[in-house]
Amino acid sequence: MFAVKIIPHILAWAGIVLILFRGSPGQRPAVTLASISGFVAGSSGAFILFRFFPEPVVFGVIKSVLGVSFLLLWGVAVAALYLCSSARVVAVQQEGKSGMSSLWTGVIAGAASLVAGAICASRLPGRDSTVLEVVLLVLAAAALAYVVVYAVRAVEKLLSASFIVSKLGLLTIVIALLLFSASSILRLDLFSPLSMKVMKGIHDFVHQFMESILIPDHLFVRSAVWGYIGLLFSKEVGFWGGMVIWFVPAILIILATRFKRLPSVAHIRQGAQRRKLLAASIGLRRGQIVVPVIALVVFATAAYQSRFPNVEYWDPKPVPVSANQAGEIFIPKKGDVNLEDGKLHKYLFKQGEREARFFVLMSPAGVLTVDLDACAICKPDGYGQAEGTVICYYCKTLIPLETVGKPGGCNPVPVPFTEKDGAVVIDGMTLINSWSSTVKATAGNKEGGK
């Protein structure tokens, strides 16, 4: 039931609105208006985009916005740490009272709610709905937004006064909640593609670094030592590197808050008064750390959701096939199995001691394609199918079904075939050689690096 699936997204958005209410005291009307209108605009905008554009385009737009917001968080976090390490002592500030202007509050609330609404809309099935259905969905979204915002307003008043939200904390938790919301949707998840890109980036960097400073090749190096270097070429380095990049902005903001210089009390001659002011500043500083720590937990949950998605991949067991005397493999398009049903159909071909795993798939455009169950980059862990994509099990890259059959990147390696007499015909020797060269190349890439 999609209503159940949409609950985490609504809760994430409610969390964003709650934080905005607490972080912008005295600007409730602006937050209320901007949140409701942003959510409605985001969800209805997404509905309309899905109607008129292909799904990969719309998902790409939402994912890009999320990516840019994460980059923005990185920039702000680095700047915050840089500013806090500045040695100049500042005058006493009452951080809790200095807030943002209504305009900025409205912009942030509106933008965050827009993205949250778009993410919620991405969850809905049957995106090719009629105009009437779109209007009804928009009205439902508006009603839902209204109820949620006013419920959150009531909840916010019950929160303790010691729950402080600084500007940095607000930005961190808003982006964390948006990424958490996106992480449960395979095609909006950022953590998995980030891990994959980090893996490739680290492989590249280590390779270039070793070439640049003229490190001897592995044939001269002890295998134990090369084993440690080999860790940098493994799949796990992408995961751990991705985790570092994922968590560092929140950690930097916690550090920037924790190590921010206390205000100067040197002009106060009474020791007790100085101590009181300093204690108040320290208390304020501690209070401001709570929200970024919560954001850290939210980031962790998003990473967990990405790593262990609640998605069942369609991954059939490969069916053994054999070649005829001419060395050709015949697979009927219709029969026990319908190759044109849009699902992945996996097969295993053996020739002596050599074997090859491949699959047949009908793309959404109605084009039949035959590909190795392996790509030219990763180890041949194979592919699964889910939500309009195939996923490489090794690096967790999602490949849109529309691009399966085209070579390059992490796409499965296409295999030449013909269609004859209602069957798919593949040359066995070509298949075996293609598999052997692909697997040999990827094994070489992963075990040496140089």
Partner: protein, 429 residues
């Protein structure tokens, strides 16, 4: 003009320059990653070709030079202020500045020194501060400055980014075959004779094998090892792979004459294949080194120089036969003859013209030194400074610390409290 210059200097010596430049390069990297999998190589190629990107990268070493000058100037100014020499404003040299009421009594105009000033010196000395008093200043300090560590770090950063810039923009690599008994091929031509190539087991903890190449030239014999690589003819000698240079004589029933060639075969480790096409014929010979006996080093044949090669003779796509032949031996069958009169050791070597590498290595030394200098100072002896400038109209107090913030702040505030106490007038003189 002067203002513009000082603004440029201020911008150039800003601590924000390296993170901003590195951030920009990361942004470019991310954008490139959407278009190609060879992201880093593409970025390096762009930087090499683009003056703008190279100039951007050059900002970091330039910033290091500015910062070294800036830190040195500030350090000297602070020392002069603590010594009571300079009377210019020093607010920007310290972290905290506090104004106290003037040392003069507002009614009589006489200088009023708080009776605790002498006691202040004793108090500061008792908590480990060295005190220096002049007519108009009281300075106190403790610990060691981290300036040397900062300087080492800045020099290291300068070397690192200069090295990266030089490497990216000027690196040239030439791959050559260095063959035993043959003159050394160099980027500019040929060099001395390669007298000997030797591969041996290593007893070290990092390298399993050591390779040495002895080259005899006009200036005597020069030996090239693995690491750190030596230079020859202005380029680093970087051995990459092993192989053999084979003198091959081949004859086939349908060939009018024997085919003789010298061929470089990149066929190590054992099992790796390399092929030779017989020109003007459909024949191809695939060579490989046989696997050694179990328990022995995979490169034993290279080490000992006793080279047996396996081969496969193909005519077009068809395999005619396979066999093996030893150095100096031959294989004859069905009218086919394959002789290997000579097989020499070969090292596939890159000659790298890249002076940036030297800077990068040196930067590692500077960074290591910076850490070893900074760490004990920061933990045990951080620099803390207090300066009081006694003035009839407004006494100013300055404070600065590089560590133990709260402890130093407590001492500073207490000192201010002491100085702010006013008792009886003390006449001038």
């Amino acid at each position: 003009m002067k203002r513009l210059l000082s603004s440029l200097v201020a911008a150039g010596s800003s601590r924000a320059v390296p993170p901003v430049v590195i951030g920009l390069f990361f942004l470019i990297y991310i954008i490139i990653a959407f278009f190609t999998d060879e992201t880093l190589i593409t970025l390096m190629a762009f930087t090499r070709k683009s003056f703008v990107l190279a100039a951007l990268l050059a900002l970091i070493p330039l910033n290091c030079i500015f910062r070294m000058a800036w830190e040195t100037r500030r350090g000297r100014a602070r020392r002069r202020a603590l010594a009571g020499i300079d009377s210019e404003s020093v607010s920007d040299l310290f972290d905290e500045t506090v104004s106290l009421p003037g040392a003069a009594d507002p009614d009589s105009g006489h200088h009023t020194l708080a009776p605790g000033v002498a006691g202040l010196e004793t108090r500061l000395a008792s908590v480990g501060y060295k005190v220096c008093r002049t007519e108009k200043t009281i300075a106190a300090w403790r610990g060691l400055s981290a300036y040397p560590a900062r300087l080492l770090f800045l020099v290291g950063t300068f070397c690192l980014f200069s090295g990266i810039l030089i490497s990216i923009t000027t690196r040239a690599a030439y791959r050559q075959m260095v063959i035993e008994g043959v003159p050394m091929p160099t980027p500019s031509g040929t060099g001395g004779l390669v007298e000997r190539i030797a591969l041996a087991k290593s007893t070290g903890s990092i390298l399993s094998r050591v390779l040495t190449m002895e080259v005899v030239g006009r200036n005597g014999t020069k030996t090239f090892g693995l690491y750190p690589p030596s230079m020859y003819d202005g380029a680093f000698v970087y051995p990459r792979y092993l192989g053999v240079a084979a003198h091959i004589i081949f004859a086939a029933p349908d060939m009018k004459t024997e085919y003789e060639t010298y061929s470089n075969l990149n066929c190590y480790p054992p099992g790796k294949e390399d092929s030779v096409l017989i020109a003007g014929s459909p024949y191809k010979i695939i060579f490989s080194i046989p696997e050694p006996t179990a328990g022995s080093d995979r490169y034993i044949s290279y080490m000992s120089g006793v080279t047996m090669v396996n081969f496969k003779l193909l005519k077009g796509p068809d395999l005619l036969f396979a066999g093996s032949a030893r150095q100096g031996g031959e294989f004859v069958r069905d009218g086919y003859r394959l002789a290997l009169p000579d097989i020499k050791r070969l090292v596939v070597t890159d000659f790298i013209k890249d002076y940036g590498v030297l800077f990068i290595w040196v930067s590692a030394l500077f960074f290591t030194a910076a850490v070893f200098v900074w760490l004990p100072i920061r933990i045990f002896f951080p620099r803390c400074e207090i300066l009081f400038r006694l003035d009839p109209h407004a006494t100013k107090a300055y404070s600065r610390t590089e560590g133990r913030l709260r402890m130093h702040a407590g001492v500073f505030y207490e000192a201010l409290d002491v100085l702010a106490v006013r008792k009886t007038d003390i006449p001038d003189g």
